[in-house]
Symmetry: D2
Subunit: 419 residues, 4 copies
């Protein structure tokens, strides 16, 4: 449709590029839940930077603080030097995030990506326990570097490693057998059988909701069971909250409703608030066995993102307004999706907070729905092993009427595709 | 010295933090070659964000473009969607960087860190060749994620992996035997001996100057020899130009003077210009065998950094002014360091462009010199296997008198420590 | 009891020695189901060289052929040269073993141990498929070399590797969940889910009865299901018949009753007939992709064992007498064990052909029973993850009254220990 | 030549068979240095079961003891039970082998193959040190199981693994650079450089003469240097004496002339004396950290071979007659080969004791020489990375006139091929 203008991308950008193929246009600006392209077309964003833009595009509160910081020549690139911006962030993490939730964590600044936080978490778990194996779950996604990829499920992405991915074993995620077996039947049995052939693991890494894996939900009781089985066996529990943390499911941490306290938590995507690269690893003080510099990274001190992270925490997480609003909006989405599911055969829905999926028995329909929705001004993407799920991740700050507008486009698109 | 104020860092920042221990103060702002701390003390920066700030802190030209872009609500977080900022960057890469140098590369946007660029490069080399082994070099540093760490030399950092690091074998870097053996004696022999026990490698990864490894320099003829031995055997040559690229050695790419054309080039650190996270992988078109999305990363579309990257390329690399100035300033540094080396027993020097090392026979002196220099207002860090080298990486944009001022502090510090 | 005489063993034999600790005496001669020690005491053997002596100790028919061969200066050490002894063996394998069963296999002579046969089988499966992963089963035992150990379950033995054991994943064996889940629920799901995180395997390796693992039995329908799930997915099926083959379960191959045809079969232990080292790998002709010498071994041509192997096949497997007798004796054993199980609380039994287990809820009793039985002149050993099973592997050629005598000792020993 | 008779081998023996291709006939009997085929042709054996028949085929002294043992119903298959045969062997090992040489080793009986001894040695070294990496040497050969293969050089055999071979790194063997570099220049440098990228190894495994690798000789001073560099760094030294031990180079252990005491020694091939499968691991008492049964193997108690091993040690190693004779015969061979080397351009020779190589600049000639020699009644095989070496391993017990006869055939064959 805009082939003439995409020349340079076709010409020299690697074939690895992806989203630009689903959304063949050139974006210029963005505000809140909206992106605009060069042709002046506006797109409602139910994708939110794959969960990195929970507070919307170019959120004015954060933007103002960011510009002030840059204009005032605040430290930009700080590695792990102490800076005023970092101090303020750490204080806010402590006072707004940890203390009110009764959490006692130390904070590590890994490289500014989720994969790097995961790599750091895996290293740490191995160092703490002296063991190598990590248990991951079916349909998990944790990143694309060699360590993170070893605990990721997708066969195409795994094959990209070019070397065998070792030291990790998948276990069935909640609901993998549709409730026909007892929870953790295989996992507990194999852990407690000294002749099972599974080496005793250092840690289990889990997402409370598997976004990339198809919006699969772990129940609170399943998470509690997992936490207690780990605790009973001296296995560390890592919750990868890169996509589901920062309020995506309602509370700041996605594991709050389960009432568990992971040994290690990874955060990235929306933790910076403004969509700038940043990541954190939270670890129980007794696990802080790192030597200075044992894990590092050039961009681990991206101070402009510390500024927006701090303001976001202060503004959105000093009270429960956002959390309640997310849950309310989530219900609005759920209702709309259930209506679709009832109306259209072969479609079902699942979700929590503001992450929802529309699941198509005929996987090819999911992609078509996203394509039609794009043409009608709505950005959504598919997920799941067969790309059979239309995944909805609108900004948490989206207005109700925007939500309705997007859900309306979605509903129409489903009708177009499925009838 | 400022113990009272560091409380929050001691309290909740992980033990893994490093630079804040060498430089025990809290920085607030920065400009050009200077950082300022809360107490109002100014520090001259001969460290430049470990090479991420080649154009200085908060470079005004880039800053202005950055603020304009943010203020105008330009796309912040874009994954690999096409954006106006990305188009402009790609055009500038093509017209300013590649075409004038006769280079034909495709451009991949991996996650925004050097380690991620290295992980992508290793994956690609393995996919292209169908082989697993990577040859790296003694004292190499390529990053902290599992793949990048496997080709990194440092034993402490390697041990942090917690699992054996496989599929990689170190080879002697240029000068490893002080010229007592023929270049590549071992490497060529072992590659051409079908019974050597070394599996045929997918690629060789090399830094033209090993910054973290102790400012070890590879001669141009050594690099040419390396390139031709790889080419003759169907082994891909990856130049990791994360630290030495972007003009650090004079020309934009550190391998230009050798006249070689690597199969894959990794760029990060100063590629963004302003110190914001960003990385690129350049790859020969015939190697662009990626499937869409086969390697990805949430922050691969850090558009504000695309803006500053583009302005930096346009401003500093449309002519040869910066390159010539870097070489001239490099001579200034070399001269000053040679004077120190001549005057102080047990001290020698080596370097190229604006990366230089002052090497101490007694390794403990190097750390002391950095400490004394810090107290006198100069930031430098050590490198090398035993931290025996004071490494100098001043911004390329530093003024001659600033350079002299720093060199003077350094000279005095050496005198203090070594006499 | 005979401490004075064991000096040299204590003095210079490595701590790794095992059986001599359970049976603290020094054996001199053996015949049929009997061993004699230096003190002239006779022991009835319900252990049979861990299944390597199915035809009894120093079987006179084989002994005569062996002595003739040696006396006649037949080739002793032949690598894989063609010899008369090997020709005769291959002809008998074809005519007595394969043709009557409608099996079309090629025959490989690996090194003369079960582990070596398993290593060869795994290599071949990887070469045929171009994949790396092997699926093994909980409580499996396949050997102690690095490849064989990777598919073995026992944690103590695995830890002995000293390196992580990769490229293998355990699956639940038949009965692992006591029938509470559908067969292969996890295995089929994880194989067919392209996002499960389990890399597509080259092969599945299975024992039809797990001897070392605790006399766990796979049902015929479970084996058929396994064979068909492998066939449907292009995964090779390897039956490790090292312990259960050569008639242990009744028919020559333990998988005959299931009616399946594995892609690869490993044989060792009793294949040589006389207890001399020997092993075979049987492979479907279409999988014979070996290059000459790609797998070898100095002792792969142990011709004296070829002679006894040939005579054993000819004598015992030209008709169904042995098979029927084994099944009949097996019933005799089963009946006796069931009587014990009925009489003694906390004891149960399972078995097939002439491999049976007496399972103790209180694992420590199993070891005590073996100890008491030894003192009363019966050799048995424990197996299972917690050594909770007394495993019975009498020679197939044992007489009924010998069998009764041993079962009587066993019954008495159980009574002594458990009451 | 005898195609009609080889049918069964072609029909059902796997393609992996090797020697039968070089020597296309069917052997029946053997005595001393001679094999006879079905057609009644006699072949002089300069190959000796790849070094497993140092005392000749069917040595009458051993044969008599073997037949007596079998006829007397001595224990055949003993696992690691204590037996009279084993006791006698251990006593003889202590009194004849160890004590006179001032060696203090404990004795482990692994599975009866060289590969199994190597696997046990590598496991033990890793357990003792808690490290994973093993250093091996270029052109090494240690066996075909996964662990042994990882320290083997040959690319074709390595590729057969089907998985990457890890935890091992090759180092240059003595003479690898034809004396142009200092001994151990690379190895010592890389071990002592904490930033070299080579993980600290558990052990070094070395052959004093590389038989399969092309009859490459390590000088005594090189071995002493190796032993002392290992000792100084807490790295275990494993001498794999599977092929070069048992007198092949003159003294029983091939490392005796160097005056070193390895931490671990592997023995197999000729240790059993008669060519029956058997292997030993000798280990310093302080390294005997095995748990009972941590490494095992069904055929580790091949008692008939213990008998012949014991008699061979007693008969051949109670004095220095055999050692002196081997050295004298070795000189006879060396002289004859040097004459060939002088006479024929492109041919050189090297060797020690009774292992010698005739090296052809044109590798294809080596194979042709073996083929012509076979046709003229002499068995020899090639070795080396390119099969460029005719390797001579005659029985140590060969008579001088037999030696001359074989050398004459060889000389004529070289003349035929090279002129």
């Amino acid at each position: 449709m805009i082939a003439a203008e995409t020349t340079i991308f076709d010409e020299i950008e690697s074939n690895v590029r992806g989203y630009c193929r689903s959304w063949p246009t050139i974006f210029t600006t963005a505000q809140g839940a909206w992106l605009r392209d060069e042709a002046g077309r506006d797109f409602l964003d139910f994708f939110a930077g794959a969960g990195a833009l929970n507070y919307g595009h170019n959120n004015p509160i954060l933007k103002s603080a960011l510009i002030d910081y840059i204009a005032g020549d605040g430290i930009t690139h700080g590695l792990d030097m102490s800076t005023v911006a970092k101090r303020k962030l750490l204080e806010t993490v402590r006072d707004t995030l940890l203390a009110p939730r009764g959490l006692d964590y130390k904070v590590q600044f890994p490289g500014p990506t989720g994969a790097n936080a995961v790599e750091a978490a895996l290293k740490l778990a191995r160092k703490v326990t002296g063991r190598q194996t990590i248990l991951s779950f079916t349909n998990a996604f944790h990143g694309m570097t060699l360590g993170a990829l070893s605990v990721t499920g997708n066969a195409m992405k795994r094959a990209g490693a070019g070397v065998p991915l070792n030291h990790a074993t998948p276990m069935p995620y909640d609901g993998y057998f549709d409730g026909t077996t007892t929870d953790f039947l295989w996992m507990e049995r194999v852990l407690d059988d000294s002749s099972s052939g599974l080496d005793r693991p250092a840690a289990v890494i889990v997402e409370t909701v598997q976004g990339e894996g198809g919006v699969n939900l772990a129940r609170d009781e399943w998470l509690r069971h997992l936490a207690s089985l780990c605790a009973a066996r001296g296995i560390l529990l890592i919750v990868d909250d890169v996509q589901m943390g920062c309020g995506r499911t309602g509370p700041f941490f996605s594991f709050e409703s389960a009432g568990i306290t992971p040994d290690i938590v990874t955060l990235s995507k929306s933790i910076g608030g403004y969509g700038l690269p940043m990541a954190l690893v939270l670890l129980k003080p007794e696990h802080d066995v790192w030597s200075p510099g044992e894990h590092n990274g050039t961009f681990r001190g991206n101070n402009p993102s510390f500024v927006t992270a701090q303001v976001a925490l202060e503004h959105y997480w000093s009270d429960d307004v956002l959390e309640k609003s997310t849950l309310a909006k989530g219900k609005r989405v759920a209702t709309a999706l259930e209506e679709i599911a009832v109306a259209v055969p072969g479609v079902s829905t699942r979700g929590r907070g503001l992450v929802h999926g529309l699941v198509f028995d005929d996987a090819s329909q999911a992609g078509k729905v996203c394509q039609v929705a794009f043409e009608r001004g709505l950005l959504t993407e598919t997920s799941g092993a067969s790309d059979e799920v239309v995944k909805l991740l609108p900004p948490l700050t989206i207005a109700d009427d925007e939500l309705d507008q997007g859900l309306h486009i979605l509903s129409d698109s489903v009708e177009t595709v499925c009838s």
